[in-house]
């Protein structure tokens, strides 16, 4: 556990340093670039007009992308559900424990719902 914490600390420090260096890099490169240079990337999306056809088949990539979205969202919802179920199970276990101890010690319970433990009799 201690090794894991040290490892996480080291990773965290590394990432934090990179983050602090990021803005410096960002501004220096931005200043160095000419704003008048011609754009070579996409700056607009146009619709297919009549007679024209798309020339790149991307159906499988599109299906894969939507599958990624679906799996990620459903997976996360299931993960949150599992956390909630685990919490409920733990709460039920605590409730049973408190009731069992109350029954054996005859304690009716304190204001916060948790009975106060009594010292064992000799």
């Amino acid at each position: 556990m201690k090794t894991m914490r040290s490892l996480l600390l080291a990773v965290g420090l590394l990432v934090s340093s990179a983050t602090l260096l990021g803005p410096a890099l960002f501004f220096s490169v931005a200043v160095a670039q000419s704003p008048d240079a011609e754009e070579e990337r996409a700056t607009s999306f146009h619709a297919v007009t009549s007679g024209a056809h798309e020339d790149v088949p991307g159906g499988m990539l599109l299906v894969a992308a939507y599958a990624v979205v679906l799996v990620a969202l459903v997976g996360y919802v299931l993960y949150v559900g599992a956390i909630q179920q685990g919490t409920q199970r733990e709460m039920a276990r605590l409730e049973k424990l408190v009731l069992a101890r109350s029954a054996t010690s005859g304690d009716t319970g304190a204001d916060d719902g948790i009975p106060v433990a009594r010292p064992a009799k000799d």
Partner: protein, 236 residues
């Protein structure tokens, strides 16, 4: 033990998302036209960009929760930070996976060290560290504070991601920035609907996760109280 029922606004929000999600799919696949140069794969854009926006929302909530926790030390802020970081990371993962699938067709390669891609990956690493730190069993005060610091540091990368396409010359498209030539008018409703659905979905997921985290925190407190009262020991 009976499970606590979710509040009515939460149920209403979930119902709204459930209704709007198919409407968004209709807008993407029926209403919005196919793009001239990229073809059908451009339709990834309608989930990719709103996911990036949802990532910003999630990480901003994580920063708010982190600042609040470092300041007030209240579990509600910690729960907000955890929920925001996790939900933001889920959407960040969606962005980092759907983007390369689009790029395979548009650029001929899945990945390139474009400024926006690189800064997004760096942000993902920071918040992955946050989530990993908080997933190591029951987090102590030191882990919570360190994670909160990461949540704040990571937030400062978000403006860099956002403005990187304008400041750096990369390959990432600049369609909806000030420099871009814009979208075909029939493509706009699908994108706007995407922003709405993903914003509502982010709020819903952060709300659900924060509630779960607060409940877990309460159970941990009760376990400690029970242990200190001698209730967890074997009565024999």
């Amino acid at each position: 033990m009976k499970a606590e029922r979710p509040p009515l606004p939460f149920v209403g929000l979930a119902a709204l998302v459930a209704i709007l999600f198919p409407v968004q799919l209709w807008a993407i696949f029926v209403h919005a036209p196919v793009e001239q140069q990229m073809g059908i794969v451009q339709k990834i854009f309608y989930f990719h960009v709103p996911s990036a926006y949802a990532m910003y929302v999630g990480f901003t909530l994580a920063m708010v929760g982190s600042v609040g926790y470092l300041w007030k030390r209240k579990p509600a802020f910690d729960a907000l930070a955890v929920a925001g970081a996790e939900v933001g990371l889920v959407f960040c993962a969606i962005v980092l996976m759907t983007g390369p699938l689009w790029a395979r067709n548009a650029w001929g390669t899945y990945w390139t060290w474009d400024p926006r891609l690189t800064t997004t990956l760096l942000t993902a690493m920071i918040y992955a560290s946050f989530v990993a730190l908080r997933s190591l069993g029951a987090a102590g005060e030191a882990e919570k504070r360190f994670a909160a610091a990461l949540g704040i540091v990571g937030f400062f990368l978000l403006p860099i991601i956002h403005f990187s396409v304008q400041a750096w010359r990369g390959q990432h498209p600049t369609v909806i920035t000030g420099r871009g030539g814009g979208l075909h008018p029939d493509m706009v409703p699908a994108l706007l609907l995407g922003f709405l659905v993903f914003t509502l979905l982010t709020v819903l997921l952060v709300w659900a996760r924060a509630r779960a985290e607060l409940a877990r925190h309460r159970v941990q407190e009760l376990e400690l109280e029970a242990a200190s009262a001698g209730l967890t020991e074997d009565p024999t």
